[in-house]
């Protein structure tokens, strides 16, 4: 079980000061098999509200570098809200707010000193329903992230598009029709297109909110293969309601229930011998 990390810096929200507090880890609490692993992105005592309704309660969870962390739990347990906090998309909803700390590479990122736009260029997201931009072709979709932020160098487009499409295992299928509209692809292809689009920006973390729930089993299998490849280079956090999927693709799994993190651990251990009875009930299908 991953122990909690103590926050050694100042208050969770700084009032606009440019200083970015640092998160310190007590070395004694790090378990041996993670000794060489750094935490890429972490949440500490994160709570979130939609207006007056609280949906996350003091969640502390860290996601190690180049590993796949899966988040499972029944509907309404707060897992989507959680990852939307990680790239500060949650705050886009009117009336939404958070308390607590989110840190990327030991830098606190959910303060006013940090522009969420910059954060999202390092922490990418893939949504449940594929959302390629309809007014753009496949190539334009892939490069959209760079074009939107104005960081596309002249002439580098084709090369970058090919690289991202190869990483998303889509290149061979679309290399002859890069100028066709993005909507013309199948559901699974569209989702891989969205993954390519997210990868083109070269993030360090990729958040995936139920990426396969709108896809058929074959497309799902291809994306799961893709996840296996991507974890070599990126840190992945996947929300899924499909436990078998979590068991297949992830290194660590977190079980959420009613806005709380109930249990966290290496995937195999969580699924074969969970410590918390609630986890066991969920896994064996007693509810959810």
């Amino acid at each position: 079980m991953m122990p909690a990390q103590e926050l050694a810096a100042g208050p969770a929200r700084s009032a606009g000061r440019p200083v970015v507090p640092r998160l310190e880890v007590e070395p004694a609490l790090v378990s041996p098999d993670q000794a060489t692993c750094q935490v890429k992105i972490a949440a500490h005592r994160l709570s979130a509200w939609f207006g007056a309704q609280q949906v996350l309660r003091g969640v502390s969870l860290d996601m190690p570098r180049c590993q796949v962390t899966a988040i499972i739990g029944p509907s309404g347990c707060g897992k989507s809200t959680f990852i939307r906090c990680l790239n500060r998309m949650h705050e886009l909803t009117p009336g939404a707010r958070t308390e607590g700390v989110i840190a990327l590479d030991d830098q606190v990122v959910n303060t006013r000193a940090v522009d969420p736009v910059l954060l999202r260029r390092r922490v990418g997201m893939v949504f449940q329903k594929p959302n390629p931009f309809p007014s753009m072709s496949i190539r334009e979709n892939v490069l959209a992230g760079l074009r939107l932020t104005g960081s596309l160098r002249r002439g580098a487009g084709d090369e970058l598009a090919e690289r991202a499409l190869r990483q998303a295992a889509l290149w061979d299928e679309v290399k002859d029709r890069l100028d066709e509209p993005g909507l013309g692809l199948s559901g699974g292809q569209q989702q891989r297109l969205c993954i390519a689009r997210a990868l083109a920006v070269e993030p360090e973390v990729l958040l995936m909110d139920e990426p396969c729930s709108a896809l058929d089993p074959i497309a799902t299998a291809r994306i799961e293969d893709l996840i296996h490849e991507l974890r070599l280079r990126y840190t992945l956090v996947i929300v899924t309601h499909n436990m078998q999927q979590a068991a297949r693709v992830s290194d660590r799994t977190a079980f959420f229930l009613l806005g709380e993190l109930v249990e966290l651990g290496p995937t195999e251990r969580l699924f074969t011998s969970p410590s918390d009875p609630r986890t066991e009930d969920y896994i064996t299908g007693k509810f959810g």
């Binding site: 998309m89 959302n131 007014s135 959209a144 066709e180 509209p181 997210a198």
Partner: protein
Amino acid sequence: MKRRGRASERLFQGLCLAAALVPLVVLALLVGKLLVDGLGRLDWAFLTSFPSRKADEAGILPAVVGSLWLVGLSALFALPLGLGAAIYLEEYGRRGRLADLIEVNIANLAGVPSIIYGLLGLGLFVRALGLGRSLLAGALTMALLVLPVVVLSAREALRTVPATLREGAYALGSTRWQAIYRVVLPQALPGVLTGAILAISRAMGETAPLIVVGALTYVSFLPDGPGSAFTVLPIQIFNWVSRPQPEFLVNAAAGIVVLLVTLLALNGVAIALRNRMEKRRAG
């Protein structure tokens, strides 16, 4: 008993259908009367002559040119400002008090009679700002008049863009304006264009505010710039309708035919354009 009920129900249904069709029948009568009266008068000379005291020598050239000038200038002001206001209301100010104030204003302005805008133009542009009875004063007045139309239809268009597209753009690390400019606006373009055409059609057909602002009813020259005196097609028609001689009524009918054909063409282009855009989108 059931059968009688059925019969009276059918009768009622027929009555309602008739009620719906009567306005259309009237429209058909209207168009028919116009064509009968005016089509004969319509010829190249009519389109290219200046007004005259002799009905059969009078033409609508300065009126048509004036209308084009007026509509063009108004669109220049109204479209960007209206689109800007719509973007602000839909993308930026969704919860603010300021946004509410703007919304209430736009809703009320849409219901203000057009002649009141004429009075505003007269008091503000013609007199207070000293623009006189110029094209510019007329164009600014019309721009204010059609602004609510542009805002309302642009907002509708922006609303049709699904939230998931915006989220996709934000998740890639784009700022608000980048997301709007590159994702939302291209998607909303057909609707925005429709709104623009609606506004232009409205500006083209309005008469009363321009009379108040000082468009002339007898013009023997072509406007040469925004400061020039002017007339527009509806006012020329109004001038002819107001004359007792029946020959001028014929001129008026011909002028109306030109006006309606222009509006029809404008709207037809808009619809065709919008359909093409939507077809391209659906891939």
